[in-house]
């Protein structure tokens, strides 16, 4: 309280809410849960989302598909790069939050933030290149021109990594967006605060509302709703507990979801295209060649 006396003002604390459809609602359930630092001290109360929040987030994500997937790849790259610019500008804030969330020294947390920013830049740059790498012209045996190109899968449910609250989150989210998908992200259950701050960055960047939706709460409670949702096209199981994965995969089979089970959780490593390919569909188009 000595600061208070010295500065003469009370710091304004942040209310951590959900990010759905470009807005920051509380959970429709009215629930919240305490988020603590690794030492057990209270950091904040985060919104504890319900299945209805998952539902709303999927609706928002679906609504955003046409615009985001229909944007030019160049435009998506620009928008994503703008996010990186804003991350850089909030470096100090994120370093503090990551340090608090993950219980690591501030200097180490800052490196995580830098890596996250760089990763965002990496994926921003992929936006108008991936189709060239993953696409092809198909030299078919006939008078036809055939080409194949990657298209976004649609709405991707992302269970963000539980440990790496920012770099991990960025590493799973950015590739989904790069190829034109929209996302419903279930943030790290115990370390959700950097995710909400990232949502604030996204909200003030040029990313259209609904392209990314971030919900916080109990992963094991929320993930099954995402997995069984028939308007979700793909599911990234990165943040699911190993014991829960089988059940989620079973639920995901309901609408033949594409399910991504990561093999590598080393967020420092160059991801290559390993997280771009799982969330695209290859479309092949044929047309006759004649006069």
């Amino acid at each position: 309280m000595s600061d208070h006396e010295d500065i003469g003002r009370l710091p304004v604390r942040k209310t951590y809410k959900l990010y759905v459809g470009g807005a920051f609602p509380r959970s429709e359930s009215g629930r919240s849960y305490p988020v603590t630092a690794t030492d057990g001290s209270l950091l904040a109360h985060a919104a504890q989302a319900s299945r209805k929040d998952v539902r709303d987030a999927v609706v928002a994500a679906r609504k955003a598909v046409a615009g985001w997937s229909g944007a030019t790849a160049y435009n998506r790259g620009q928008v994503l790069y703008r996010v990186a610019e804003m991350l850089e500008g909030r470096r100090e804030q994120f370093a503090s939050e990551v340090a608090a969330a993950e219980g690591i020294p501030r200097e180490q947390a800052a490196k995580q933030v830098d890596a996250a920013t760089d990763r965002w830049v990496y994926y921003a740059g992929w936006a108008d290149k991936f189709a060239q790498v993953a696409g092809s012209t198909d030299p078919v045996a006939g008078p036809y021109f055939a080409f194949s190109l990657p298209e976004p899968t649609g709405v991707v449910g992302v269970l963000a990594p539980q440990e790496s609250s920012l770099l991990g989150l960025v590493s799973v989210l950015a590739p989904v967006l790069t190829t034109g998908n929209t996302a419903v992200v279930v943030a790290s259950e115990t370390r959700p605060l950097p995710a909400i701050s990232l949502a604030e960055v996204l909200a003030t960047s040029d990313l259209p509302g609904g392209v990314v939706n971030v919900i916080t709460g109990v992963t094991a409670e929320l993930a099954p709703w995402l997995a069984s949702h028939r308007d979700v096209n793909a599911l990234d199981l990165t943040g699911a507990a190993p014991g829960e994965r089988a059940a989620l995969q079973r639920a995901a089979a309901e609408n033949v979801k594409r399910v991504y089970v990561p093999r590598d959780l080393d967020w420092q490593r160059d991801p290559g295209t390993s997280r771009l390919s799982p969330f695209v569909e290859i479309k092949t188009v044929w047309h006759p060649i004649g006069i």
Binding site: R245, A253, N255, V256
Partner: protein, 478 residues
């Protein structure tokens, strides 16, 4: 008035198929009786038995998977790509050499017209082996990193609509990448896969690299659930695909699925009408409509709907339905009694729900499984025949007014395998192609297949691609 130009029967001889009285499963490089039942495979065109087929039992699945594992660890997984490739080239050539025999065999067992088995199924099967043969020693250039490794042992379950072609779609990329395989053909069409096993043996493919198990759904289920596999590939119904996806949940085994479809074939008022009519006919009557990518929903712009339907009716009246071995047959037999019952049931529902049914006059044979080419008009998007995969020679005609409406209606299905667009306006083709949620978009053509062109579904039509460079991914450890 001139006399009718009656085409005299021009049947291929069934002797060409060199049918044997009985066929055995192929495990660890040898043919043997399976531990399952012995069944008779029948000719769907006349319901006569073709041959006895010894089916696999659960112990055969174990043996086949073990054999495939030994072959993977011992030989195939270590063989240089160059050598693997030469085996595949050999196989491609052997299929070409025995093409006529395989075509007749396929038409006998499946009921498809000899023209199709001769001109499409068998040549494409050979082409797939030929294409992937060349990849075997070039995998480092396929875009999956340097020296990509095979996945291991693959279990592959294929359908009855294109028996040999589906076997080739599955086997060729798997083998090219260095995997070994246990393949299960469909219960009603096991023969060509078992003859392919003869070809593999004659090509000196090491024992266990490919095992072929005849059997029904229970053997298929046992195979896909087998813990000795690293990878499962399935082509068939969405219902079964979903079950397999559930079965493999949590196992870490890899899966690709090529499932059902309810493709929209979209015809605009500026289409090349005569070619569109051909494309519509090919789209739904090719292989009696028993094609997952069949253009079963005709979406026609309202302003040309009457003209198109009239032209279609005229064209259908020239389709020749009958003996699959007759070179002049356009539409053959339905593959099985069960499939015929399903087609009948759905067609009846179409009538009950108020759609108008039309078929040309055609004399169907008394014996065998036959269904006349059928068009439903006045179909509403809510009718079952507009939503469910019929997998038969039944076309549902719906109309639209604007391009946006066409896209909306085309995409209004849980499936997403293929789509057709007919218009002479180039920019509209690309606009449509961009928006159709389907793995293959045929513009001003339909039902084209090529080993270099990836094929596979969006949404509930499955995931993974077969064909082309993309088809390698499912069989590489990437």
């Amino acid at each position: 008035m001139a006399p009718r130009f009656e085409y005299a029967p021009a049947p291929e001889s069934r002797d060409i198929a060199r049918l044997k009285p009985s066929y055995q499963i192929f495990v660890d490089g040898a043919f043997r009786d399976g531990s399952g039942e012995s069944i008779k495979t029948i000719n769907p065109a006349d319901e006569t038995p073709l041959a006895e087929v010894s089916e696999a039992g659960p112990s055969d699945v174990d043996d086949a998977v073990d054999s495939a594992r030994r072959a993977f660890d011992g030989v195939w997984g270590r063989l240089p790509g160059r050598e693997r490739g030469k085996y595949l080239f050999r196989i491609a050539r052997a299929i070409q050499e025995r093409a006529r025999e395989l075509a007749v065999l396929e038409s006998l067992d499946n009921g498809k017209p000899i023209r199709e088995s001769r001109d499409v199924d068998i040549p494409l099967a050979a082409a797939h082996f030929f294409y992937y043969a060349g990849w075997a020693d070039k995998l480092s250039h396929a875009g999956f990193g340097a020296g990509p490794r095979p996945v291991g042992v693959a279990g592959q379950v294929i359908p009855w609509n294109f028996p040999l072609l589906m076997a080739s779609w599955k086997l060729a990329p798997a083998l090219a990448c260095g995997n070994t395989v246990v393949l299960k053909p469909a219960e009603t069409t096991p023969l060509s896969a078992l003859v392919l096993a003869e070809i593999l043996a004659a090509a000196d493919l090491p024992p266990g690299v490919v095992n072929v198990l005849a059997g029904g759904p229970a053997i298929g289920a046992a195979l896909v659930a087998h813990e000795g596999l690293d990878k499962v590939a399935f082509t068939g119904s969405t219902e079964v695909g979903r079950t397999i996806q559930r079965t493999l949940a949590g196992t870490g085994r890899r899966l690709t699925l090529e499932l059902g479809g309810k493709a929209a074939n979209i015809v605009f008022d500026d289409a090349p009408i005569d070619q569109a009519v051909e494309g519509i006919v090919n789209g739904i009557f090719f292989n009696q409509g028993q094609v997952c990518c069949a253009g079963s929903r005709l979406l026609v712009q309202e302003s040309v709907a009457d003209e198109i339907v009239t032209a279609l009716q005229r064209r259908l009246s020239t389709l020749r339905v009958g003996d699959p071995l007759d070179k002049n047959t356009d539409v053959g037999a339905i593959n099985s009694a069960a499939q015929l019952a399903k087609i009948r049931e759905l067609s009846q529902s179409g009538e009950q729900e108020g759609a108008r049914r039309w078929s040309p006059d055609c004399d169907l044979p008394d014996r065998g499984y036959w269904f006349a080419p059928t068009i439903f008009t006045d179909v509403s998007p809510a009718n079952r025949i507009a939503r469910e995969e019929i997998f038969g020679p039944v076309l549902s005609v719906l109309t639209f007014r604007t391009p946006a409406e066409a896209v909306e209606k085309a995409n209004n299905t849980p499936y997403g395998l293929s789509a057709g667009v007919w218009t002479e306006k180039g920019s509209r083709i690309l606009w449509m192609a961009q928006r159709l949620r389907a793995g293959v978009v045929w513009a001003n053509t339909f039902n084209r297949f090529d080993p270099t062109a990836p094929f596979g579904g969006y949404k509930e039509s499955g995931f993974g691609r077969e064909g082309g460079r993309h088809g390698l991914e499912a069989y590489l450890d990437v």
